[in-house]
Amino acid sequence: MNGAKIAVTTEDGQAVEEVTTNAEGSWTVQVDKPGKYKVTLDVSSLPQNAEVRGGSNVRTPTVYEGNCSAVLYALQPKGAANQDQAAGGGESPFWTQAAQLTFEGLNLGLIIALAALGLSLIYGTTGLTNFAHGELVTLGAILAYAFNIGFGLHLIPAAVIAVIVAGILGYLQDRLFWGQLRRRGTGTIAMMIISIGVALFLRYVFLIFFGGQTEAYAQYTAQPGVEIGPISAAPKNFVAMGIELAVLIIVGFALLRTRTGKAARAVADNPALAASSGINVDRVIRIIWAGGGAIAALSGILLGLSQNLKYTMGQDILLLIFAGVTLGGLGTAFGALVGSLAVGLFIQVSTLWVPPELKSVGALAVLIIVLLVRPQGILGRRERIG
């Protein structure tokens, strides 16, 4: 509905902004703080023959940090009876919502899984708990943004180039930095703290070049949603899920069937034994760094597609990646997959009962509880880790 006037105020009545809907009938208001807001639709700005279904033109959404909150006004021809509401509600809203959240959870879980796979393999092969992995996720998103906006490429070729560049950078990172440290005999705890330094370094380099604001890609930003069964989502989300699944299947297949994949799992299992049976451990590790960097970048691009880009986006998701990896069992490739899906699903589905801003709290609490019962994670090997 074009041209309807909408006023947004805070809970106690302070005006935030007044907007007018665009040709598609949508509108957005940026608010500074999370909290309760009051949204009022000016009924007199509606066309003569339309009215708001249900009668009330005031909504009071609660806005949470980093999430947008949707306010919808369903319009109907004036005088129409309210019977269509009952007709539309054959399914109970709880299950519709549950299905929707399961879908979103799978989407988030797959994005986490992409990043977690690299982290877990790097941990398994080198013993490095890489706190800078979140920055590899950001790197992918920002590289794609640079090619997309800076060079004016369409998002798809930009994403492909970004993934390739990130893979090369991952390779170089191991070749020039982590590999050298391993040769010096730097231990795992020292490397863990070094990775914190790398994370700080990269994060603020991104801040210098990218800035502190949030950005979106040039394409696919505001897609109208489509409905499939009880699930409604923008088509880009279905495509993203397809890409995620395809990449995970390819990586899983490569790990199980190809020579390099088998070698990678052997190194992750026991580097010394793998080396003595003729596997070139350094080469395998570099391949893992290149592959891990590339798929972490891909997960960053897809994350940027489903949310927005910010220089802290990788840092924000890092703990969830760690939760997924730890839940599945540090160092196991398929454990990371299972753990990440569990984390993603748990986070979204738990919002049925938990306020959205606390959804990550639930996931992290589950991580701690699982480690109490099963310290090696879901798919981890039983061994003394105390």
Binding site: I194, F201, P375
Partner: protein, 332 residues
């Protein structure tokens, strides 16, 4: 470029509030990481529960200042016990991840809209320091002296916070010194070197680690009090994971497992940071450096912090005062 201001702020940074509160929290980390070998990445949460314990007790419950301090201390102990039970059985890298997760849980709960009536959401809490400044023995005015052309002055409020803060630092350093010389401290260092050997000698490793976690957590929580009192407010995002990372940088810079290491580390960290900030923002403002703006100059400082941490661990992991044989970080 205004060199007088730069020198003045830099010299003051050596003993200023940031240094005090980070030094206290870093002493706590030193007990965990330096002496016991516990990779506690949740130190910011200890500062947070103490600061919020004080703030909420005074503002929401309306109780006096001293009750707030006691509540803050008790919450830090409870936090240590809650954090310790699931994590102290875990290996170092698991411990690091779980403590970060726990600290994030604390921060997210503090900033949630759900508990806004208690913790004040992302704005935090303010207006709980009257009880503290009522005890201020310094009359109104500025205290300090001129070092040549450079003025070094603090107002009476800062003087009171700094006096209390440095007394606390001295007390904590003394306590750590005495404890680490005692048989109890030697058990902690033995746990750091070889946990299984200590276990085979019949000591309860879990119990010693828990005591260390509580001690370091309580020392760290003093930093949270100083933050709240000096700035007159607490906000959730101050107590994020980056704070903990900076604390580790300070401990390693000064030298882990050294009594004065974290204090010197915190002083150096802030002196360098403030100096860099002064020079960079002045240079940008005066047009000497033209390729970045003021915001980018602020970010550049933290790029250098990250770089410093990397180089420090590669080339001098024992820091300034540390002993390379003692701080073989990787024997864990």
């Amino acid at each position: 470029m205004d060199w007088i201001t730069i020198i003045s702020t830099t010299v003051k940074a050596a003993i200023n509030v940031e240094t005090v509160l980070y030094a206290l929290a870093a002493i706590g980390i030193n007990v965990h990481f330096g002496y016991t070998g516990l990779l506690n990445f949740g130190q910011a949460a200890f500062m947070g529960v103490a600061g919020y314990g004080l703030a909420v007790t005074v503002t929401v419950l309306g109780l006096p200042f001293w009750v707030g301090v006691i509540v803050g201390l008790i919450s830090a102990v409870i936090m240590a016990i809650l954090l310790g039970i699931p994590t102290l059985h875990l290996r170092a890298d698991y411990l690091a991840i779980v403590t970060i997760a726990a600290a994030e849980i604390v921060r997210l709960v503090f900033r949630s809209v759900q508990f806004k009536s208690v913790f004040g959401g992302s704005d935090g809490r303010r207006g709980f320091t009257d009880g503290f400044y009522a005890l201020n023995p310094f009359p109104e005015g500025n205290y300090g002296f001129n070092l040549g052309p450079v003025p070094l002055f603090f107002n009476s409020r800062s003087m009171w916070v700094l006096t209390v803060g440095w007394l606390l630092i001295a007390l904590c350093c003394g306590l750590v010194y005495l404890l680490m010389k005692s048989p109890w401290g030697r058990v902690l260092k033995a746990i750091r070197e070889d946990e299984d050997a200590v276990r085979s000698l019949g000591k309860s490793v879990f119990s010693y680690k828990m005591q260390s976690l509580i001690l370091g957590g309580v020392i760290g929580c003093l930093g949270g009090f100083i933050y709240g009192l000096a700035y007159g407010s607490v906000q959730p995002d101050v107590f994020g994971t980056e704070t903990t990372f900076y604390l580790y940088t300070m401990v390693i810079l000064g030298g882990a497992a050294r009594v004065l290491g974290p204090v010197v580390g915190a002083m150096l960290f802030w002196v360098l940071l403030v100096l860099l900030n002064g020079v960079l923002s002045e240079a940008v403002g005066a047009g000497v450096i033209t390729f970045i703006d003021t915001n980018q100059a602020g970010a550049l400082r933290y790029v250098l912090v990250g770089l410093g941490l990397i180089l420090l661990l590669i080339f001098r992991p024992q820091g300034i005062f540390g002993d390379k044989r003692e701080i073989a970080i990787d024997a864990r």
